[in-house]
Symmetry: none
Subunit: 298 residues, 2 copies
């Protein structure tokens, strides 16, 4: 009678609480931790219970974000995380924002899913609330900062797979666009699907992109445009850049909130995407994975 709940394995709980696996097994057997057992004797701990007990101070807590449901026991649905992030954001709960995003990553969700299905909707919601005057600027800033910090934390975790011979992608946000998050997520998503990515960050002039073509010879350049300061100048510079890239056979991917249809139709590009899902899909066609470079997602 497996009820629909979120379960964690002994190893996960051990890591979350900062103790050894054997200790978790003992605690369960002694009734300190509630758990159910499968027919074969494997312990299934309810992550909600563990989180509750840890918060009550009865247990140490190393990183509770590791306790979120995994793809193994319950299909980790991005919607759950999106929901949770929305609640955390509107409630101005900075710690929950962090643990939700980090938890989503630990649950094995791909970077582009975290970006498109979890963070983007939540930030859009925040934007709407802000425009409607139901959310003060200060909260919007806190939330943004929390998201950026969480994603940088993921970046630090991601730093592991350093294998050579990966194609290079360079990107950033154009001059006048000061948003950090979108371009950072793009870099990480590309990283996650087998590319070497170089993020130039926000407010990067086209001259930097141009010199990147020669200096690093990337296979792909991405533009993440959340905001465009001066459309005419942007178009001008962009077109000139695009011609140079095209002459070298370098793909140019563009995306971002600022590129609505009215703008987009006037641009040339190799690929456009409303989100990172399209970007990574495109990147995979450029550089089809030999084996399976994705993170574990069993």
């Amino acid at each position: 009678m497996p009820l629909s709940g979120t379960f964690a394995s002994t190893a996960q709980v051990a890591e979350a609480l900062g103790v050894g696996v054997t200790t978790i097994k003992r605690w369960v057997d002694e009734g300190i931790l509630p758990a159910q057992k499968t027919a074969g004797g494997h312990r299934k701990l309810s992550s909600a219970d563990v989180r509750r007990l840890a918060r009550e101070g009865r247990l140490p807590q190393a990183d509770l974000s590791r306790l979120f449901p995994t793809a193994r026991s319950t299909p980790a649905t991005p919607d759950d995380f999106r929901e949770r992030l929305g609640v955390a954001a509107l409630g101005d709960d900075v710690e929950s924002i962090r643990s939700t995003i980090v938890g989503a990553y630990h649950a094995g969700l791909a970077m582009e899913v975290i970006a498109d299905k979890i963070i983007a909707p939540a930030m859009a919601q925040v934007g709407r609330e802000w425009e409607a005057g139901r959310l003060a600027v200060i909260h919007e800033h806190r939330i943004t900062q929390a998201c950026v910090a969480a994603v940088f934390e993921l970046k630090a975790m991601q730093r592991s797979h350093a294998q050579a011979s990966r194609p290079l992608a360079i990107g950033g946000a154009p001059e006048g666009d000061h948003s950090t998050l979108a371009s950072l997520l793009a870099a990480m998503a590309l990283n996650d699907c087998g590319w070497e990515s170089m993020n130039l960050g926000p407010h990067t002039p086209f001259s930097a992109f141009r010199s990147a073509l020669d200096q690093f010879n990337p296979k792909l350049v991405w533009f993440s445009a959340t905001h465009i300061a001066d459309e005419a100048t942007f178009m001008n510079e962009y077109e000139s850049f695009y011609r140079e890239a095209q002459a070298r056979g370098i793909a140019v991917a563009v995306g971002g909130r600022a590129l609505q249809e009215s703008v987009r139709t006037k641009m040339n590009y190799t690929m456009f995407g409303d989100g990172l899902t399209q970007l990574t899909a495109f990147a995979r066609t450029l550089n089809p994975p030999a084996q399976s470079p994705r993170r574990r997602s069993k």
Copy 2:
């Protein structure tokens, strides 16, 4: 000896601080050192907390690097790290930038030292090279991104389990200033010296700071001004904000490259600092550290 990194045992902390195990146990029981306990009663000390307290000078400091596995056998003088970071930055070696900054933190250097003595000089050097045309924009962007990422990585490590009531500081960069690093470092430095800090990030309008006064009732507000878009508007809004803060008895600390003497002399503030060393020193006078576990000496 699991040494998860986030937790340390009494023996490890004892060795790191150069005291006996019994003393550590007593300090924990007396609340001098924050710790969590396992179900079986074993103490788990957060290495971040220990490091923070040790840096505050409230604890003896024998060899902090023993608490942190990655730190190894490097004479930990700030100058060494500054040198290394300078070389890494000018050489566009992103991975070295990261390892130098993270290494400095692991070596037990205080956040304000890392900011003032290591990162700031390196970034100033980068700025000079850039102005002299010896460094392309793209490198300047890469270097900045690498530093930001590294500091965010430190932020993730800094998460502390100590819930003791700490005074609140709120800060950020004013509207028009899009630099992330300075304000982030300020937040972390304050965090590191016993404050609860809330970083509103770059490009924060004064209205947000004003509403922060009422909503969160901080004891300190910091402004990190790396760049000022419109001096007249800035002055105007700032003065109005300062009056409100003063009326509430809230300290206002200002700093940053943009506040040269010509600007500064026209401003009112509770405290000005060229770097974070001054900010943390000031913060400590506002909130002097509690009683010391060391022997009394007059």
